[in-house]
């Protein structure tokens, strides 16, 4: 038996493939038809094929548990998530606009702070920000860009529009999985790529390489390295993958040292070699034990000074995380308007700041229907999904909010869009998902073709993080108008 889309129930949510009448949406037309032509054994066989490919390709991610770190196979659902190229073009412009404004904002914060003086953003939120680094004041990195690589989380609400859920400007991960998901899908559903209207994603590593090269304008062949915390980091797979794809060295802190002349060197079999650009995948506070966390063995003593004096470039620049804060997030529409004089192309999700008395009272009163997020966490940790929480959890969160209002924001619980997902052996059911595109900014701007789609594998769940049982799908930007 094969799939009958008329029986597929998206339950009032916006479904990415099937509209409310049970018909495929335009970009999903060929896909839905093709899936219908497969019987259920075949569907199951393709999923097994994907699982084997993931094992052979060694695509894993690391989960931290009490028993130590476990390497898990990357969770992947074979049904792709198609998006129309027309809609994506607008979204991509919106993402570039957003990162451009955020970079101007960060640069302003570390120089004249005009936006504060003009009363657009209150001084307190910067002064109380966990990610504002006084060591960065007065520094001007190349192109005045601080966040070169940004992972922006988008969600589609009931109205079918994309909204920005959060900006990740510190060390966003996931892009390797976006690329690997496409490799797997090409192996598993090769027939669908015959038509050629699914846009390729493989350009990313090339673009990333160019972005990084542009940070060292004085050399033709800059020495670029990726600085990883090492194999115990949850994203180690990605660090190694990107190094391999770009043909650059993957280094750990102990491979680097800062010379007497203030430049950064790596220890090679020929001796010490100068490093020009560091794509660091280590948090600010572990970068340099001389400046930040004294016990850090992941970092390189003297690295901050080398960066401050322009002897080495770093992406993302230290201190960029100041804009990666859920409270700052609430001001992004004003930030875009202030620096660019434009209206935001992609909207924010409505956000209530607990630092504001009125908004805090609203959040506490309505906690059962809101999502409460800490301002500076990532990975989906430390948040409360109101409608899925107990009374006890809610009152615990109210206490947390009262104790540290600056650190919490509230947002309405969104009706995240869904897509058909293989459940059990051969059943397709709707599951909620989000999308993380990656945005680059250096001398030029670039947005990935689509991004990483993450799926909440549990029925009704809204938590898509792979560290918490989420899965993933290949994301297709489909040129549906193409002949």
């Amino acid at each position: 038996m094969s799939i009958n889309w008329k029986e597929y129930q998206a339950n009032f949510f916006y479904d990415e493939l099937i509209n409310e009448n049970g018909n495929p949406r335009l970009p999903a037309k060929r896909l839905a038809g093709y899936l219908q032509s497969l019987n259920q054994n075949e569907l199951q066989r393709r999923q097994q094929l994907a699982d084997t490919a993931i094992q052979d390709m060694g695509i894993t991610f690391t989960v931290y548990t009490e028993e130590g770190n476990i390497d898990r196979s990357w969770p992947f659902d074979i049904i792709p998530r198609p998006i129309s190229a027309k809609q994506w073009a607008v979204t991509a412009d919106g993402l570039k606009q957003r990162l451009k404004a955020l970079n101007l904002f960060i640069d302003d914060l570390y120089h004249d702070q005009k936006i504060i003086k003009d009363g657009i953003v209150p001084r307190e939120i910067i002064e109380n920000s966990a990610n504002f680094r006084k060591e960065c004041i007065g520094i001007s990195p190349p192109h005045n860009v601080w966040a070169h690589i940004c992972g922006t989380d988008l969600v589609r609400d009931g109205d079918g529009e994309f909204y920005v859920l959060e900006d990740n400007l510190r060390v966003p991960s996931g892009v390797s999985y976006m690329l690997e998901n496409r490799s797997i899908t090409k192996r598993v559903l090769p027939e669908l790529f015959e038509q050629g209207n699914i846009l390729p994603v493989s350009d990313y590593t090339n673009q990333l390489f160019n972005t990084l090269s542009d940070l060292a304008p004085h050399t033709d062949k800059p020495e670029i390295v990726i600085l990883t915390p090492g194999i115990y980091n949850s994203a180690y797979f990605e660090h190694a993958f990107l190094a391999q794809q770009m043909g650059v060295e993957l280094v750990e802190g102990s491979d680097l040292s800062v010379g007497k002349n203030g430049y950064v060197y790596m220890k090679t079999i020929s001796g010490f070699e100068k490093v020009d650009v560091i794509y660091r995948r280590i948090d600010d506070l572990f970068l340099d034990p001389k400046v930040f966390n004294k016990d850090s063995v992941l970092g390189v003593p003297g690295l901050m000074k080398a960066w401050q004096s322009g002897k080495v470039a770093m992406a993302n620049a230290p201190g960029a995380g100041v804009a990666d804060d859920k409270v700052v997030y609430a001001y992004v529409p004003q930030i875009i308007k202030y620096y660019l004089g434009e209206d935001p192309i992609i909207s924010n999700v409505e956000t209530f700041l607990c630092s504001d008395k009125k908004q805090r009272e609203y959040v506490i009163k309505n906690i059962a229907k809101l999502v409460i997020k800490p301002a500076n966490e990532s990975g989906g940790y430390g948040m409360l999904v109101g409608p899925h929480s107990t009374k006890k959890e809610q009152s615990e969160f109210i206490e947390l909010i009262k104790k540290n209002p600056r650190n919490y924001v509230g947002q309405p619980t969104l009706s995240l869009s869904t897509a058909p997902t293989l459940v059990g052996a051969d059943k397709l059911e709707p599951r909620h998902l989000d999308l993380r595109p990656f945005v680059l900014q250096g001398a030029n701007s670039y947005v990935t073709t689509g991004g990483l789609t993450r799926v909440a594998m549990k029925k009704g769940s809204l938590v898509v993080n792979s560290s918490q049982g989420g899965g993933s799908k290949d994301t297709w930007i489909v040129d549906a108008e193409a002949k």
Partner: protein
């Protein structure tokens, strides 16, 4: 190339060679026993002795029989020199050097690791399935060697790879030779003159050298000739002489390589024509033991020169 990466490439290569050698040894040994008369008392435990792993073995097993020895050498994940452990070391080292290795190497090692673990679970150690299992492992190792030789740039990474591979191979060849000689010294086979023939034939096969020997030396297999072939043949890629020469070439190509040449030469293993073995007694044993110690010293020279940059 980073020092840390160089060290890991060197070890990846050594461990991959070790995986193949373990598979060959057990495969050949299984065949050897089929060709020997019942009353010739050749013990499986020789395979343990050959790797100087007696202590490791005795803390784990009481009985020195085929089942335990095969398990110890191939599948025991607490034995640091077992095939499965070597395989996981190849994978772990490759995982941390993916930036310098060709993409498919990673995929090949994942496949091989999954295959080996699954086969062992499915009874691949039992005599009925062992040959098929080990042959497959050997083929996969060769596939990986071939893949790397033909797609990795023959630059520093390749030179480091060659050093590890040849060093490990030279070491293993001496161990196999030594084991063959000891096996015969311990037996009274005068009545059964075909025994040495069987043993030396299998020594050659362990190194994949039977065909090369036949073409280059003689059709008849004789102990001293086999020993000299495996030690001194200038063309056979697993002979000690060939391995050491190739290693020396790779050392010279590497940065700071010429600096350590005099140190290496002082070990006296890179002579134009190596020692000729006349007797298969203590002379061979001494030669093998001495060479193994020198290879250890060589490893220390490499570490100081390349792996621990201060």
């Amino acid at each position: 190339m980073l020092s840390r990466v160089a060290e890991r490439i060197y070890w990846t290569s050594r461990y991959l060679q070790r995986v193949e050698s373990s598979a060959r040894l057990v495969n050949v040994y299984t065949n050897l026993l089929m060709d020997l008369p019942k009353d010739i008392n050749i013990s499986w435990f020789n395979l343990v002795t050959l790797n100087n792993a007696e202590d490791e073995y005795e803390t784990r097993y009481k009985i020195k029989d085929e089942r335990n020895v095969v398990k110890f050498i191939l599948a025991d994940d607490t034995n640091p020199s077992s095939l499965l452990v070597s395989l996981s070391m190849v994978r772990e080292n490759l995982r941390t050097t993916r930036d310098v290795m060709p993409e498919n190497a990673w995929e090949l090692i994942n496949e091989l690791t999954a295959f080996a673990n699954q086969s062992i679970k499915d009874g691949g150690l039992n005599r009925g399935k062992r040959h098929e299992f080990l042959t497959q492992v050997i083929n996969q190792c060769q596939l990986m060697q071939g893949y790397i030789a033909s797609t990795l740039s023959h630059d520093e990474v390749w030179d480091m790879w060659c050093i590890g591979r040849h060093l490990e191979c030279a070491d293993m060849t001496t161990r196999i030779l030594d084991a063959g000689a000891n096996l015969l010294l311990a037996q009274d086979y005068k009545e059964k003159s075909h025994v040495p023939l069987v043993v030396w034939g299998n020594v050659l096969r362990s190194s994949g050298a039977d065909h090369a020997y036949r073409r280059n030396v003689a059709a008849s297999v004789k102990g001293t000739k086999v020993a000299n072939f495996l030690i001194a043949d200038p063309h056979f890629p697993r002979s000690v002489h060939y391995c050491i020469n190739s290693m020396e070439d790779a050392v010279k190509r590497l940065p700071k390589g010429r600096k350590i040449m005099s140190l290496i030469q002082s070990l006296g293993i890179t002579k134009e024509s190596p020692e000729i073995i006349n007797e298969l007694d203590y002379q061979l044993s001494n030669y093998c033991n001495d060479l193994q110690l020198k290879l250890d010293q060589l490893h220390n020279i490499f570490t100081l020169n390349w792996f621990s940059v201060k």
